[in-house]
Amino acid sequence: MSEVGWIDAALTSARPHALAALLRYFRDLDTAEEAFQEACLRALKTWPLNGPPRDPTAWLIFVGRNSALDEVRRQKHHDPLPAEHMISSLEDTEGALVERLDNSHYRDDVLRLLFICCHPELPATQQIALALRIVSGLSVKEIARAFLVGESAMEQRITRAKRRVATADVPFDAPGAVERAQRLGTVAAMIYLLFNEGYSASGGEAHIRLPLCEEAIRLARILLRLYIGEPEIMGLTALLLLQHARAPARLDADDAIVLLDDQDRSLWNRDLIAEGLALVSKALRLGKPGPYQVQAAIAAVHARAGRAEDTNWAEIERLYAALEGLQPSPVVTLNRAVAVSKVRGPAAALEMIGPLEEWLDGYFNFFGVKGALLTQLGRAAEARIAFDRAIALANTPAEAAHIRLHLDRLLKDSTAATKAPA
């Protein structure tokens, strides 16, 4: 493995903490980013010669802060920059720094950095793009590719979003307990959105974009390391891990969607499932259930079933009912109805989703589920109407193709029925 390999990983992993600390120091995002950038350049020069510093994050903060201050001085007096050897041996100063900078010192800084990306006036996709740029440090090109838009369009979007958050008034004092909880909730929601953007792409050709899912998991893990006893952050991380574990089985060789029931479970990632299950058990024993924990518990029931027919649907229905209580929404009820159809049959489920249509008449999944339930009840004509509606609402070609499969099956069955001898 090349030297650049470990330096890259060290810089990537240090970025959220170092940038967050620099932001607190300079109170300005651009200055903090430039300082971090400069520190990275120096790391690439000096680390291969001197070996990795004992605490890369503290090193980057220290060097970044000094280089930005140098820059200010240089602009004032045109002083020359300090020679490399002056910053290449930082052991003593670093030692003092390390004493003070354990994880708890970064906690509120990293949360603040994530939180400012979640400015309420920014649309969700811009919040995500901004977090990927600022916190994850992805290049505009990488983000543009992930969102399947042009580079210059994404550049503009990010610049505009940055300008918007620059004027946001997020105080630098340590937040109180209530405020901290609110920030955590907002940031968790953004990370979940980021994951979903990758898990079920909202547009374009690709149905799954793995890098977005992986980055969401990395951010969730960072957040959990900082808030290690927060049950909802455990739940969020577990949820993402358990969902992501199924990624290798969710599309077939032709990129067509494979439903949970039909997936080859031997393709599921066992390591991710084991970690997800461990986090779910840890979270639930704290006795403070929340929406992410319950959703993770639902994913855990699926993960535990060796075969689709082993799934404990009664448990899933019970969990969806709990989720409805915590976070009532038509989409949750729709999902509960799917579980109901497995436990009590399609008629009960259809009755349950009837009242949802007024809320979900623009929702692809609603008509997919409705069509499937009508098909099971043998009401082919009505099923076709529902599937046609689903195709019209499909977000990706894979979704549309999946519904077309249902339609083909309906068509075949009805031809078979007409041909059958009376």
Binding site: M1, G5, W6, S13, P56, D102, R225, K282, L286
Partner: protein, 122 residues
């Protein structure tokens, strides 16, 4: 003599590895592990989940405190371990050297086992 090789690294850093890099490092370690196994030295090895999956019990008080996370917040975390059977410390260090090969950062602590309890499986 049984030796434990405790593998430490920054889990934030390891979590930032690309899948390709993670696979590459583990692949190389598997080769070393197989070799040590063939030489009759490797008795057991495991990679641990991240410390976020840990709970820590603190005996001495009632009720027993159960805290989420590892026992201490450190720069580098215990991420895995090997149990080796070696004649001498030199031999254990040589094995450690091989296990260090595919790694680029972190630390390997070689700790001789004090006693192995009967029936514990080793």
């Amino acid at each position: 003599m049984l030796y434990t090789v405790l593998c430490y690294n920054s889990e934030d850093e390891v979590a930032a590895w690309s899948k390709e890099k993670d696979d590459a490092v583990l692949g190389k370690l598997a080769v070393v592990g197989k070799q040590l196994k063939d030489e009759g030295k490797l008795r057991f090895s495991a990679r641990l989940m991240y410390t976020t999956a840990a709970v820590t019990l603190r005996p001495g008080r009632n009720p027993l405190p159960i805290v989420d996370g590892p026992f201490a917040e450190t720069k580098e975390q215990l991420l895995g371990f090997y149990i080796l059977e070696c004649e001498t410390l030199e031999e254990a260090i040589e094995a450690g050297r091989q296990l260090a090969g595919p790694r680029e950062s972190g630390a390997l602590e070689i700790r001789p086992m004090r006693s192995v309890h009967e029936g514990s499986g080793l």
